[in-house]
């Protein structure tokens, strides 16, 4: 289990605070890089397709004289895809973009809710400052130096980038609940997950993971000689409810 990320704590009427783990510079840079590739491919793809259709031959060259059709159907949409990608998608997807989704992060207001349209647009307008002097230098420096890992646009808009957990856990928890015998909750989850993914993993990888789990929860066991089927059987035995289960 990974070390818990620093988080934002929001008070709740139930007395149990809402905890949102903040995304750091790595997750931010990863999401930005993914988004940059997506918008670049979209913009270039549009330009190339538009240019090929406009020219009617295998050429991407612009016309010699200014032409409204070329400008309106090829150049403007390509530039719009590139420059309006973040503001439009963040507004439409409530603080998310394809890159952020892939990186498992999203933009939230400081109370944990989805930011308003104004906040998202202000956040994006300040990219003009964050991108100075080159390659988002100022924005990156601020993300590294600030406690909440925010760039200038986030400071202005009152937004934060937080990790978004995806939801295969309840099914896993159900399997884990059935396996709570001599295992603790974490161990039961790990055994349940490993058995669930047994066929997806390569034989050496699942054998290594199985051996580690068996040694951890059955100290003194000899596991080096066990083959694939025997390892799986031992894992299932380990996860079987024991006398301790009420």
């Amino acid at each position: 289990m990974s070390e818990a990320a620093p988080g934002l704590s929001v008070d709740s009427v139930t007395g149990i605070d809402v905890s949102l783990p903040l995304a750091g510079p790595g997750a931010r840079a990863y999401a930005f890089t993914l988004d940059w590739h997506v918008r670049l491919v979209l913009a270039l793809g549009w330009y190339a397709a538009g240019a090929l259709l406009y020219n009617g031959q295998l050429s991407l060259a612009p016309p010699l004289l200014s032409d409204v059709r070329w400008f309106g159907l090829v150049v403007v949409p390509a530039l719009a895809l590139y420059f309006l990608y973040h503001p439009i998608l963040e507004v439409a997807l409530r603080g998310s973009t394809p890159g952020k989704r892939m990186a498992g992060v999203r933009v939230v207001a400081r109370d944990g809710s989805a930011p308003g349209v104004g906040a998202l647009l202000v956040r994006n307008v300040f990219r003009l400052i964050d991108s100075l002097p080159v390659f988002y230098g100022l924005g990156l420096a601020l993300v590294v130096l600030t406690r909440e890992h925010v760039r200038c646009g986030d400071m202005a808009a009152g937004t934060l980038l937080v990790y978004e957990r995806t939801g295969s856990e309840p099914a896993l928890a159900q399997h884990a609940a059935e396996r709570l015998g001599r295992l603790d909750a974490t161990g039961a989850e790990l055994v349940a997950e490993l058995l669930g993914r047994w066929q997806e993993l390569s034989a050496p990888a699942r054998a290594e993971l199985a051996r580690r789990l068996i040694v951890r929860y059955s100290p003194g066991s000899t596991v080096t000689e066990l083959d694939d089927a025997q390892l799986r059987a031992r894992l299932e035995e380990l996860g079987r409810p024991a006398a301790a289960t009420p």
Partner: protein
């Protein structure tokens, strides 16, 4: 029963509630996206919220490092956001933005708009007087092509449509103006100095070019060219400058809230005006591409377009444009920290 066995039993009992968590999370997602109007569903959310809070509190103690706890954190945060902030619909959000937040932001910015307009007007006057007194200084403010054209008795705008089509011209102009306007706002980040510089420079250039053109007997033609789009374009320059000045002042004089909080409040509140500025500049760009360089439009028509568009701008900024829209009951406009 030993403590370990007791913990195991409690964890098992907790994990068996997983299907309930999944239902609660699905309901919070559904309601958060506004995809259901079912009142019973909404009522259930309050129960879900309590259930998730209860289970999360136990999971934090019994199995802090588990993925079940992580899922509960996420589901609880989603239920909290949905319950406390309602659903999120683009239409109602935009309506709140234009009907409530924009007029409120303009009212709040009124003193800044006055000061920004004054700075711009003084800079324009300064540029005008400077070039009128020392004509050779025009080289500091205008390109050699513009100077050569005016010295030959022709405005650089003449025959513009023979070189560039209106649509192309419009898009080039509006894109440039929007970028300048956004920069005037963002430059407030430099304690307001960047905004002051952009406002001053643009005012100086406008005044200097007017003085130079007037000295060559082309002042009337330049006025005729500018009037249709210029009323709104120059007003928007002052508006975005005012927004930048508000951001700058929040950083210079943050008050008791602290610098970051004051900056956030000013940027968020004044930033709403930028959305209107961008929309207005699209219209001004189209006028500048289609009407201003076209000699077929006589001066009275140009004045009517310029003044009419300026009045439309006032109606948009004061919220009077939406007189037929019922004001939303609540606003999520930022409040002072």
């Amino acid at each position: 029963m030993t403590t370990d066995a007791q913990q195991q039993a409690l964890a098992a009992a907790l994990l068996k509630r997983a299907p309930l968590w999944l239902q609660a999370d699905a309901r919070a997602r559904r309601l958060g996206r506004g995809r259901t109007e079912d009142a019973a569903d909404a009522l259930h959310l309050a129960d879900d919220y309590r259930l998730l809070a209860h289970d999360l509190a136990r999971a934090r103690v019994l199995m802090p490092a588990s993925r079940a706890r992580e899922f509960l954190e996420s589901a609880y945060a989603r239920a909290h956001a949905t319950l406390n902030h309602g659903d999120w619909r683009l239409g109602s959000t935009l309506r709140t933005l234009f009907v409530i937040e924009l007029p409120a932001a303009v009212r709040w910015l009124a003193p800044y708009i006055l000061w920004a307009s004054l700075v711009f007007a003084l800079a324009a006057l300064g540029g005008f007087l400077l070039v009128e007194r020392y004509p050779e200084l025009i080289a500091l403010f205008a390109s050699p092509d513009l100077i050569a054209s005016v010295e030959h008795g022709k405005l650089w705008t003449e025959g513009l449509l023979n070189i560039v089509p209106s649509a192309v011209l419009s898009v080039q102009i509006l894109a440039n103006n929007i970028v300048v306007s956004l920069f005037a706002y963002c430059a407030g980040f430099l304690f307001g100095l960047g905004t002051l510089y952009i406002l001053g420079l643009n005012g100086l250039m406008l005044g200097a070019v007017f003085a130079f053109v007037r000295a060559h007997g082309l002042g009337g033609q330049l006025f005729s060219f500018i009037v249709a789009h210029g009323c709104v374009e120059l007003s928007v320059m002052c508006l975005s400058g005012a927004a930048g000045a508000a951001v700058g002042e929040a950083l210079v004089r943050p008050g008791s809230a602290g610098r970051v909080a004051a900056f956030r409040f000013a940027a968020l509140r004044s930033g709403v005006v930028l959305i209107a500025c961008a929309l207005l500049l699209v219209g001004a760009g189209l006028i500048e591409g289609y009407v201003s360089p076209n000699p077929a439009y006589p001066l009275p028509v140009r004045i009517a377009i310029g003044v009419g568009y300026w009045l439309l701008m006032l109606a948009l900024l004061t919220g009077r444009l939406w007189w037929f829209v019922r004001a939303p009951a609540t606003s999520d406009a930022p409040r002072p920290a």
